[in-house]
C-alpha cells in the first residue's frame, strides 16, 4: 500500500510500505494492508513506518490528520 506524509512545507515521505503506526487521538494504532477507510486526528508523537525492505522509518510530528482508503494512506502532519 502507498503512504504519503505531507506537511505544509514539504513532502516528508512517499512510497510503498507494509505497515504504519500512528499516534491517534484515541490512542496509538496501526494500519496494515486492506484496512477499512478511516479518517482520524493525530496527536503529538512518532509515526513508525515499515517499508518493503522491512526497514523502520520514524517521523516526529506535532499533530495532524490521516485519511486512509483503498490502500492509499495520506498523513497531513504538522512538524516543528
Amino acid at each position: 500500500m502507498n503512504l504519503e506524509i505531507i506537511t505544509p512545507e514539504k513532502k516528508l515521505f512517499s512510497g510503498e510500505i507494509e505497515m504504519v503506526q500512528l499516534p491517534g487521538t484515541k490512542g496509538s494504532f496501526e494500519i496494515l494492508i486492506n484496512h477499512a477507510p478511516i479518517i482520524s486526528t493525530l496527536e503529538e508523537g512518532i509515526i513508525r513506518v515499515r517499508d518493503k525492505e522491512k526497514k523502520i522509518l520514524t517521523f516526529e510530528i506535532q499533530g495532524g490528520v490521516i485519511e486512509a482508503k483503498e490502500n492509499s494512506i495520506i498523513v497531513l502532519a504538522e512538524v516543528e
Binding site: 504519503e4 505544509p8 512545507e9 477507510p37 478511516i38 479518517i39 482520524s40 490528520v65 497531513l76
Partner: protein, 295 residues
C-alpha cells in the same frame, strides 16, 4: 548645448543606477523562485485537507454549535492587511493600502462611522502608513517575513482566530495581493471568519462516497480541522503576498533597467553631438587662425 563634462557625469551616474536595478532584478528573481516553490509545495497539503473536509460532509453544515460559522453582532470588524517590509516594488504596497482605505470607507462604512474597524498589520510599509492615520491598530507583525514558515504563520493565525472566538469581532477580512504569475498580482480581500460553507458539494460527494470510520468522532474532527484549514488559508495568503512582492519588484526593476538603458542611449547621442560640435569649432578656429596669418 550642455558641456561635455556634465554629460559624461550623467552617463556615469545613470550607468551605475542601471547596474543596481538590474542586480536587484536578479535578486528578486531568485527570491521569487523560492517563494513560488513554497506555494507549489503547499498545494498537495491544501488539496488533501480540502478533500478530508469535504468527506466530513454533513457534519460541516452550518449549525448552531459551530463557533466558526456563526457570528455574533458586535459592531466591530478586523482587517488583516498584508504588505511587504521593503519598497521599490511598484504599486504593490500602495495598492493594498488604497484597497484597505476603500474597504473602510465603502463596504465597512457603517462600522467605521462607529469607529468599529480595527487593523491587524503585517508588513512594514502598511504599518508605516496606518500608524500616521488615526485608525485603531490592534497588532503589528513585520517580523514574520524574516522567518516565514508554517509554524510562525500558524501562531499569528491562532491569534487572529482567538480574536474572533472571543466574540470581539463579527467579521475578519484579509487584504493581500494574490499571486497569479510573475507579472500579475490580484489584489484581493478575502473573508477569513466567519467561514462561508458552500452547499454545492451534494453531487460531487455522491460518486466518491466512502464509508469512513471517523476517529474519535465527526464533530471532533470538524473542531480540529477547521482551525487547521484557517491557519493554512492564512499561511497561503502570506506566501502569496511574498511571491507577489518579488514578482512586482522584478517587474518594477526590469522597467527601471530598460528606462536606464534608454536614457543612456539618448545621453550618448547628445554627448557625441556635443563632441562633434566642439571638434568642428576647434578646426574652424585653427583654419581661421592660419588664414589670418597668411593674409
Amino acid at each position: 548645448m550642455a558641456n561635455l563634462k556634465e554629460i559624461r557625469t550623467r552617463i556615469a551616474s545613470v550607468t551605475s543606477t542601471r547596474q543596481i536595478t538590474s542586480a536587484m532584478k536578479m535578486v528578486s528573481a531568485a527570491k521569487f523562485k523560492r517563494a513560488q516553490d513554497a506555494i507549489v509545495e503547499l498545494r498537495p497539503y491544501a488539496n488533501h485537507l480540502q478533500s478530508v473536509l469535504s468527506s466530513l460532509g454533513d457534519a460541516l453544515k452550518a449549525d448552531e454549535e459551530n463557533v466558526y460559522v456563526n457570528a455574533k453582532e458586535t459592531g466591530k470588524v478586523l482587517l488583516v492587511v498584508v504588505t511587504s517590509n521593503r519598497g521599490l516594488c511598484g504599486g504593490f504596497n500602495s495598492n493594498v493600502v488604497k484597497k484597505t482605505l476603500s474597504l473602510i470607507n465603502n463596504e465597512f462604512a457603517p462600522y467605521s462611522k462607529k469607529n468599529g474597524v480595527d487593523l491587524f498589520l503585517i508588513g512594514k510599509k502598511g504599518s508605516d502608513f496606518f500608524k500616521k492615520t488615526d485608525r485603531n491598530i490592534v497588532g503589528i507583525h513585520n517580523e514574520i517575513f524574516a522567518d516565514l514558515n508554517h509554524a510562525s504563520a500558524s501562531k499569528l493565525a491562532s491569534e487572529i482566530i482567538e480574536k474572533f472566538l472571543s466574540g470581539e469581532y463579527n467579521r475578519i477580512e484579509i487584504v493581500y495581493n494574490q499571486f497569479k504569475n510573475a507579472a500579475v498580482q490580484i489584489l484581493t480581500n478575502e473573508q477569513f471568519l466567519p467561514i462561508k460553507i458552500e452547499e454545492k458539494e451534494e453531487k460531487s460527494s455522491m460518486h466518491t462516497f466512502t464509508d469512513y470510520i471517523f476517529e474519535p468522532t465527526k464533530e471532533y474532527l470538524v473542531k480540529v480541522l477547521i482551525p487547521k484549514s484557517l491557519k493554512l488559508q492564512f499561511f497561503k495568503a502570506v506566501l502569496d503576498s511574498v511571491a507577489s512582492e518579488h514578482g512586482a519588484r522584478m517587474t518594477a526593476m526590469h522597467k527601471a533597467t530598460d528606462n536606464a538603458t534608454e536614457m543612456i542611449k539618448d545621453l550618448k547621442l547628445e554627448y557625441n553631438k556635443a563632441r562633434q560640435a566642439s571638434i568642428t569649432n576647434e578646426i574652424l578656429e585653427i583654419v581661421s587662425g592660419a588664414n589670418a596669418l597668411e593674409g
